[in-house]
Amino acid sequence: MVEFDGVGLRYGPDAEVLRDISFNLQPGSFYFLTGASGAGKTSLLKMLYLAQRPSRGIVRLFGEDLVAMPRDRLPGFRRRIGVVFQDFRLIPHLSARDNIALPLRIAGVSEEDLAGPVSEMLSWIGLADRADAHPATLSGGEQQRVAIARAVIARPQLLVADEPTGNVDPDMAMRLLGLFEALNRLGTTVVVATHDIHLISRIENAQMMRLEKGRLSDPTGALRFPPANRV
């Protein structure tokens, strides 16, 4: 699914923020990415959702080398990835419904075909009655739920989430985690960056990826050489 081999990342002439990152994410697996602030979690996630190319090393996604891939092929890969941003990144002049429908519209799904899934998703996140509200009129938790709905509406093969439950109450956090779990059961590989220990303990069989000062901690080698029959 995702393979990093000897990946390093630097911004400009500065020292590398990520060094010698090697792992192999198995299809249908669930991963928590943890680490102290500044450890490089966001930079690693950026490479996962194709917002950043590595400075060195090999990155393979869905079986293809992304480092040498021409730029015009990236959108096709991005449509297979769902992203939940820590700062939500909702488009402010679009309603909750239009924000959630965005990935489907970009992928060319017709209005008739997307209306049902979008309404269903709005109901699921408890915002059916606020479908036409704009982000500025939604609370932080509501915005986060819209951002998560947008990330999962197109049934991505890889879901990358950066602190996805940081602004919601514990009940909603559990519901959202349940959604990730459900997607994971359907075959989506999930990577969640979080500091929430309680969240981590809720998912059985989830694997930990711990970043320390730009390096991935993998004492057993399980991340780099995962068991073949893990799924």
Binding site: R78, E111, R150
Partner: protein, 305 residues
């Protein structure tokens, strides 16, 4: 397509703030100035052409023999001899009454302008004039033959090519036409620069939206179509407004110009080709704006991963 088709739901990705920025108004002003400069250029070019072709093959022979009878005889003989030459298209002796009418305007001698009743004007020893139009444009070859003819029929007469005294005026008008053309080019470049700045400003303003669209899999083409459509429509509004104002001004000037029936001014007109060019310019401007926006946007988007 100049204004790309974008589904209604996709259009909402950009906030609806049509005509809120300065671009349509700046484009309107530039379009109006471009059309006025183009109209001036076309009118001046046609005037220069008309004057140039009118004077290129025309000379006036001025016979200044002192004896008025001999002068008239020489003029008549020269007119007949010249008219019989194959290199002469037409030869015409200018009537004394015509000369007096022209001079009378300057003397103020007669209200009717023919000067016929002015004793001072009647007493003036006016030269006899013969206007000759050459066949074709080989003036230098014809001049040598005409000199020989004049030497034989009216010795001492002066040959005055019209190009000698009207040529500088025609060249000046031609230069003004080129300056007008240069202004059209400069204002077109300025319009393109406005579109480039608008496109870049739009990218800057909506960078977060563009980044988000990229990350969920939008192609450069999809994003470009959104912005290209918006910029092309805004620009088209400006062009339409500028064209309407320019058309009103040109019609007003044309109406006033129609009252001028004499002199060099009468040679200036737009003609069907000129009007066609003026009508084509706004459409070309919309095409240029759309293409400029598209290329600017694509170039800028390529810098984003």
């Amino acid at each position: 397509m100049l204004i790309p088709r974008v589904p209604v739901q996709h259009r909402r990705l950009l906030p609806d703030r049509r005509l809120s920025g300065p671009t349509p108004w700046v484009i309107a002003i530039l379009m109006m100035l471009t059309l006025l400069a183009a109209a001036a250029g076309v009118g001046l070019a046609r005037s220069a052409d008309a004057i140039g072709s009118a004077i290129a093959g025309r000379v006036t022979v001025q016979i200044v023999t002192a004896n008025p009878v001999t002068r008239a005889e020489q003029a008549a003989a020269l007119r007949r001899a010249a008219a019989a030459q194959p290199f002469v298209l037409s030869a015409r002796a200018v009537d004394r009454a015509e000369l007096q009418a022209t001079l009378g305007q300057w003397f103020g001698s007669d209200a009717s302008g023919d000067g016929g009743g002015d004793p001072v004007l009647n007493s003036l020893p006016l030269p006899a004039l013969v206007d000759i139009d050459f066949v074709g444009g080989d003036r230098s070859g014809h001049m040598a033959q005409l000199r020989a003819l004049v030497a034989a029929e009216a010795p001492g007469a002066r040959i005055i090519p019209h190009a000698e005294w009207l040529g500088p005026v025609a060249r000046l008008i031609g230069s003004l036409a080129w300056i007008a053309a240069a202004l059209v080019v400069l204002m077109t470049l300025a319009s393109a620069a406005v579109v480039i700045m608008t496109a870049r400003a739009a990218l800057g303003t909506h960078y977060a939206t563009i980044e988000m669209l990229h990350l969920i899999g939008a192609t450069d083409r999809q994003i470009t179509r959104l912005f290209q459509r918006r910029i092309a429509i805004d620009t088209a509004y400006g062009i339409a407004l500028g064209t309407a104002v320019a058309a009103a001004l040109l019609l007003l000037i044309g109406w006033q110009w129609a009252g001028i029936t004499s002199g060099l001014a009468a040679t200036a007109s737009l003609g069907p080709t000129g009007w066609a060019l003026l009508l084509a310019l706004p459409l070309l401007a919309i095409a240029l704006a759309a293409l400029t926006a598209r290329q600017t946007l694509l170039a800028a988007l390529k810098k984003i991963l």
